[in-house]
C-alpha cells in the first residue's frame, strides 16, 4: 500500500451472504414465554383470512443473526471510525448518552395515547426542547412534529400557504436559488406551488437586483439556505427579507446549515419568517444510515395559529397538554407526536452544551477554514467569499488530467476517509463539498489535508490510479447502470 496512506491499513473482513441463504427449517433466534391462556387455532379463528407460515422467511439462530449483522456492519464507514466530511450533512459525533436516555424505561416505553396526567415527563421534554430551539433560532413558536427536514419544509410551506390564504390568496410561486438542496423544489410542488429558480450572482450569493425584479403579487415566498450550500453567509439576508416583506411575501430558511450559526446569530433576528431545523444534523442525532431524523419548524408569531396539531400547551395549573382543537391549523403532518425518540436525543445534546453551544459552531467554522487554507493552492476555489462551516472546491484543475470529483472522492476512501459530497451544489461544476464539523481534531484535519494533497499529486502524475479507485474496499466500483436497467430489488429463492 502507498506509504502516503497513513490513516488506514489493510484489514481482513469477513465474507457474508444474505440472511436468507443461511436459513434452514427448524432453526430459530427467539423464543417466547409459554402462552398462559388457552391456545387458539388461527385457521379456526380467522377462517379464509388465516395464513400458514411465510414463504421464504428466514430461519436462523441468535448467533447467526449477531454474526450476520456484525459482519455487515464492518463493511460500512462511520463517524465512529473517522472524519465523514459530507458537505451539507453535518456528520458530527453522536453522543452515546443520547442513545442511553432515549432507551430509558419511562421514555422508550411510553404510549402516545396514554392519559396526559401520565405523560407529563414526555411533555416536559418536548416543552424544554421547544424553548431551547426557540432561543437558538430567535423565533416565536415551533412545532416538533415533522419527521425530517423535507417534511419540515413541507410543513413550513403549508404554513405560508395557510397564512397567505387567510390574507386573501395563497399566491402561486416559490422562488428557489439554483444552489438549493433538491428537497426545496420537490417540496414546493407538494405544497401546491410552482417553482421559479433564481440564479446566484457571480459571488454565489442571492442576486438582490434580480430578486427585486421578480417581485410580483404571485410570489408566496423565497426558500433560502443560509449559510448557502457554498458554506457562505448570505450577506444581504436582511435586505432580502425586506424586499420580500414589502411584497407581502415570506422568507423561508432551510436550516440544514444551522451548525455554522448556533450561538452566533439567530435567523429570527435577521428577518426569517419560518424555518426548519434538521435535528439529525446540527443537534447530533444519529443519521443511522439514512434516518430517522426530525425536522422541527420554527415560526414568527403571526404564523402560530396555523401550526400543525397537536400543539403543546400549558394549563393554568402548570401541567402540560396537547391541544388538537385549533381551527386555523394546517392539520396534522404525521401521526402521534413527532419522532419523540429523536427529540429526546436532541435535547440531551442541547443540555450538554447549554450556553456553550457557540463553541461547537466556532470549531466547525475553524475546521472548514483551516482545510480551505491548506488546500486552496491545489484545488480550485470557484467562489472566493469567506466560508463558514463548509468549503466547496471544484475539480477543474484535476479535470485536465481526466480526474473528476467522483474519482477523487473514491480515492479518498483508500486513504481512510469517507468522501465529501460530490457534484453538489449544482452551481459548481464538479464540486467537492467539504464539511468537517466541530468533531474533528486538528490531527484528523491534518491527515485529511495530507490525503487530499497526495491525491491532487496522484491526479497529476498517476491519474489512472485515481480514476480506478477505490483499491482497498471489499467491492470495487459497482455497476449502477445495470442495477437500474434490470432492477433486482429483493432476494428470491
Amino acid at each position: 500500500m502507498d506509504k502516503k496512506i497513513k490513516k488506514a491499513g489493510r484489514h481482513v473482513s469477513q465474507s457474508e451472504g444474505l440472511i436468507f441463504e443461511k436459513s434452514a427449517p427448524g432453526k430459530r433466534g427467539f423464543e417466547l414465554p409459554p402462552c398462559d391462556v388457552p391456545a387458539v387455532d388461527a385457521k379456526q379463528a380467522l377462517g379464509v383470512q388465516a395464513r400458514d407460515g411465510i414463504q421464504g422467511f428466514p430461519e436462523v439462530s441468535e448467533i447467526e443473526v449477531i454474526r450476520h449483522f456484525t459482519r455487515l456492519s464492518t463493511w460500512n464507514y462511520a463517524i465512529d471510525l473517522g472524519m465523514y466530511p459530507l458537505g451539507s450533512c453535518t456528520m458530527k459525533y453522536n453522543p452515546r448518552v443520547n442513545e442511553f436516555v432515549a432507551r430509558l424505561e419511562g421514555i422508550a416505553t411510553e404510549h402516545p395515547y396514554q392519559p396526559v396526567e401520565l405523560s407529563q415527563g414526555c411533555l416536559k421534554i418536548l416543552k424544554l426542547l421547544e424553548e431551547c430551539l426557540l432561543e437558538i433560532t430567535g423565533m416565536d413558536a415551533i412545532t416538533l412534529e415533522p419527521a425530517a427536514g423535507a417534511q419540515g419544509e413541507m410543513t413550513g410551506l403549508l404554513l405560508i400557504r395557510a397564512y397567505l390564504k387567510s390574507r386573501g390568496g395563497a399566491r402561486k410561486l416559490v422562488l428557489i436559488p439554483d444552489s438549493a438542496h433538491g428537497t426545496n423544489p420537490a417540496t414546493a410542488v407538494i405544497a401546491g406551488y410552482d417553482v421559479q429558480n433564481i440564479r446566484s450572482d457571480a459571488r454565489g450569493q442571492i442576486d438582490v437586483a434580480q430578486l427585486r425584479s421578480l417581485m410580483t403579487p404571485d410570489v408566496a415566498a423565497l426558500m433560502v439556505t443560509n449559510p448557502s450550500t457554498l458554506g457562505v453567509f448570505e450577506q444581504n439576508i436582511a435586505e432580502v427579507a425586506e424586499i420580500l416583506h414589502a411584497n407581502g411575501s415570506l422568507l423561508y430558511m432551510d436550516g440544514a446549515n444551522m451548525n455554522a450559526l448556533a450561538g452566533v446569530t439567530r435567523p429570527g433576528d435577521f428577518g426569517v419568517d419560518v424555518m426548519h431545523l434538521n435535528l439529525h444534523k446540527t443537534f447530533s442525532t444519529p443519521h443511522g444510515g439514512g434516518g430517522p431524523g426530525a425536522g422541527p419548524v420554527a415560526v414568527k408569531k403571526f404564523l402560530e395559529p396555523f401550526l400543525p396539531v397537536p400543539v403543546l400547551t400549558q394549563k393554568a395549573d402548570g401541567t402540560l397538554a396537547l391541544d388538537a382543537n385549533r381551527p386555523k391549523s394546517i392539520g396534522r403532518v404525521k401521526a402521534f407526536c413527532g419522532n419523540f425518540g429523536v427529540l429526546v436525543r436532541a435535547l440531551a445534546y442541547a443540555l450538554a452544551y447549554g450556553p456553550g453551544m457557540r463553541q461547537a459552531s466556532e470549531d466547525a467554522v475553524l475546521n472548514a477554514n483551516y482545510i480551505r487554507k491548506k488546500l486552496e493552492d491545489v484545488y480550485e476555489l470557484p467562489y472566493k467569499l469567506p466560508c463558514m462551516h463548509e468549503v466547496v472546491f471544484s475539480d477543474s484543475r484535476q479535470k485536465k488530467n481526466g480526474v473528476s470529483t467522483m474519482d477523487i472522492a473514491k480515492r479518498l476512501i483508500d486513504y481512510g476517509f469517507h468522501p465529501y459530497t460530490t457534484a453538489f451544489p449544482l452551481i459548481v461544476h464538479g464540486a467537492l463539498m467539504i464539511e468537517p464539523t466541530e468533531s474533528e481534531s486538528k490531527e484528523e484535519c491534518d491527515q485529511f489535508i495530507d490525503s487530499m494533497r497526495a491525491i491532487a499529486e496522484e491526479a497529476a502524475t498517476t491519474p489512472e490510479l485515481v480514476k480506478t479507485a477505490p483499491h482497498s474496499t471489499r467491492v470495487g466500483r459497482l455497476d449502477e447502470v445495470a442495477a437500474a436497467r434490470k432492477p433486482i430489488l429483493r432476494w428470491k429463492p
Binding site: 456528520m91 416505553t109 395515547y113 415527563g121 414526555c122 407538494i190 436582511a238 434538521n278 443519521h287 443540555l351
Partner: protein, 448 residues
C-alpha cells in the same frame, strides 16, 4: 467541552495557519448587527451524569408501573436485546445514507434484506427502503395512485386510523385531491355496498386498513374487485404488522402502506417508527423513497447500490415522485434484525399468542354484566367493547388500580362514545387480563 477534540493551543495554531487573529474574524461575513452579543440562554452545560438524572426524573413522571391496554397504531411487543445491540454498533448508527456504495455495503445489504422481508410479509413484489411512518406511507401511497391513474379522487374507509386520515387530509387540501370517506358495517368491516357506490370512474384509489382501527380484518380480495372494477387501485394500510404472522397478506392490493413499529421498535411516545411501502413490480417507477438494488462490481462480485434514483428529489428536483430524503433507515434495520431473530416460527408463534390472548381477554370482559362486543368481524389483537358507562369515567377509576384502560373510541367516532378499544399482545399476561376484567367489573358495579 467533552465532545470537542481541540485544546486551546490547537485552536490558536489553526487560527494562525488561516491567518486570522481571532475566531471573530471568521464570522466577519455576518453583518455585525445580527451577531449575538451574549451567550444563549439555555440550561446547562450538563455533565453526562446530570443529563441521565434529568431524563430519569422525566421518566418517573410518566406511566412506569401501569399496565396498559392501549394499541391503536402503537403496540407493545417483545423485543430481543440483540436488536438494540446491533443497531447501536457505530458502523450502523453513525453512518449516512449509503451514497458511496463501496464503503456502505453493510447498510445497503441490510436494506436489500429489509425490502425482501417486507415483500414476504405483505405479499407484494417490491418494497422500498422505508418511509417516515405508517401515516405518511399511506399518504404517499395515495399520491402514487394519483400519478399512476391520473385521477384525483380517493375513497377512504372511516375505519382507517383517524390520525392517518388527518395526515392524508393535510396533504390533500392543497393538491386538488378529493377525499371521500365511507362507513363501516355491523361487522366492523368496510360497508361493501356503500363502498361500491362511492367508487367511480374518477376514483384513483380505495384505501382500507386491515386489521382496521377497530381491530377487524378486512377482505382484501372483495375490496380489490370493487376498486379494480372501476380501474382504481386498492391501497391497504396496516398498523399492526405482527398480524401478518397469522393473517393472510393483502396480495390483491396494488399498494401496501404499513407501519412497522410492531416489528422490533419501542412505542417511544409515537416515534421514530418505520413506514413500509410495498407494491407490484410494474408500479416501481412511480414509487417514492429509496431503493437498494443488487448488482456486481468491476470484478463480478455481488454488491448493492441505491438505484432508480431518477425518481428522487436530489436528481429530479421539482419533478420528483416525492420530497422524501432522510427516511427511517436505522428503524428499518431494527425491524430487519428483529424479523431475522423471530424467523418463520417465531413470528407465527407471536401472532398466535396475540390471537389467543385477545380472544381470552374478549371472553373475560364479555362476562361482565353490561359489557358487549361492538363488532362481529374477525379480529387479531384488538377489539372494541361497549360499556354501560362512559369509557372515560371507567378509565379514571381504572387508573386508581394502575391500569390504563381501553382507548375511548368517542374521541374519533361520535357514534361510538360508549365504546373502547382494547389491545392485548403477547406481552400481556393472563393475570393482567384478569386484573383488568376484575377492576372493570368492580367499577361498573359501583352505583353512579
Amino acid at each position: 467541552m467533552r465532545y470537542l477534540p481541540k485544546s486551546p493551543s490547537e485552536r490558536q495554531q489553526m487560527l494562525a495557519a488561516i491567518g486570522a487573529k481571532s475566531i471573530e474574524e471568521l464570522f466577519a461575513s455576518i453583518p455585525p448587527a445580527y451577531r449575538l452579543k451574549q451567550p444563549l440562554k439555555l440550561p446547562g452545560p450538563y455533565s453526562e451524569a446530570e443529563i441521565i438524572e434529568y431524563f430519569r426524573a422525566r421518566a418517573a413522571e410518566n406511566s412506569v408501573g401501569y399496565t396498559s391496554f392501549l394499541g391503536a397504531g402503537v403496540y407493545n411487543h417483545l423485543r430481543s436485546v440483540v436488536t438494540d445491540a446491533i443497531i447501536q454498533r457505530g458502523e450502523f448508527l453513525t453512518s449516512y445514507t449509503p451514497y458511496q456504495a463501496e464503503i456502505s455495503q453493510g447498510t445497503l445489504q441490510a436494506i436489500f434484506e429489509f425490502q425482501t422481508l417486507m415483500c414476504q410479509l405483505t405479499g407484494q413484489e417490491v418494497a422500498n427502503a422505508s418511509m417516515y411512518d405508517g401515516s405518511t406511507a399511506m399518504t404517499e401511497a395515495v399520491l402514487m395512485a394519483e400519478r399512476l391513474t391520473g385521477r384525483h379522487r380517493v375513497v377512504v374507509a372511516r375505519s382507517v386510523h383517524p390520525e392517518y386520515r388527518q395526515v392524508l387530509e393535510t396533504y390533500a387540501r392543497n393538491s386538488g385531491m378529493e377525499v371521500v370517506e365511507t362507513g363501516f358495517a355491523p361487522s366492523g368491516q368496510v360497508d361493501v355496498e356503500t363502498l361500491r357506490a362511492a367508487v367511480n370512474a374518477e376514483t384513483a384509489a380505495v384505501v382500507v386498513q386491515s386489521p382496521n382501527f377497530f381491530g377487524v380484518l378486512e377482505q382484501a380480495p372483495q375490496l380489490a374487485e370493487i376498486a379494480h372494477g372501476k380501474e382504481a387501485l386498492l391501497i391497504v394500510t396496516i398498523t399492526e404488522a405482527v398480524s401478518l404472522g397469522a393473517a393472510r397478506p393483502p396480495a390483491e392490493a396494488d399498494i401496501v402502506a404499513m407501519e412497522g413499529q410492531s416489528l422490533g421498535l419501542p412505542p417511544s411516545y409515537g416515534g421514530p417508527f418505520v413506514g413500509v411501502m410495498a407494491t407490484q413490480e410494474k408500479f416501481v417507477r412511480q414509487m417514492p423513497g429509496r431503493l437498494a438494488g443488487q448488482t456486481t462490481d468491476t470484478a463480478g462480485r455481488r454488491g448493492f447500490v441505491l438505484t432508480l434514483a431518477t425518481r428522487e428529489q436530489h436528481i429530479r428536483r421539482e419533478k420528483a415522485t416525492s420530497n422524501i430524503c432522510t427516511n427511517q433507515a436505522l428503524c428499518a434495520l431494527a425491524a430487519t434484525v428483529h424479523m431475522c431473530l423471530l424467523g418463520k416460527e417465531g413470528l407465527k408463534e407471536m401472532a398466535q399468542q396475540n390471537l389467543a390472548k385477545a380472544r381470552f381477554a374478549a371472553a373475560e370482559l364479555a362476562k361482565i354484566p353490561g359489557v358487549k362486543p361492538v363488532f362481529s368481524g374477525a379480529t387479531f389483537n384488538e377489539f372494541a367493547v361497549e360499556l354501560p358507562r362512559s369509557v372515560r369515567m371507567v378509565n379514571q377509576e381504572l387508573l386508581k388500580e394502575k391500569i390504563i384502560g381501553p382507548l375511548p373510541l368517542g374521541t374519533f367516532y361520535p357514534e361510538l362514545t360508549k365504546c373502547g378499544l382494547v389491545c392485548v399482545t403477547e406481552t400481556t399476561t393472563r393475570a393482567e387480563i384478569e386484573r383488568l376484567a376484575g377492576a372493570m367489573k368492580k367499577v361498573l358495579e359501583k352505583p353512579l
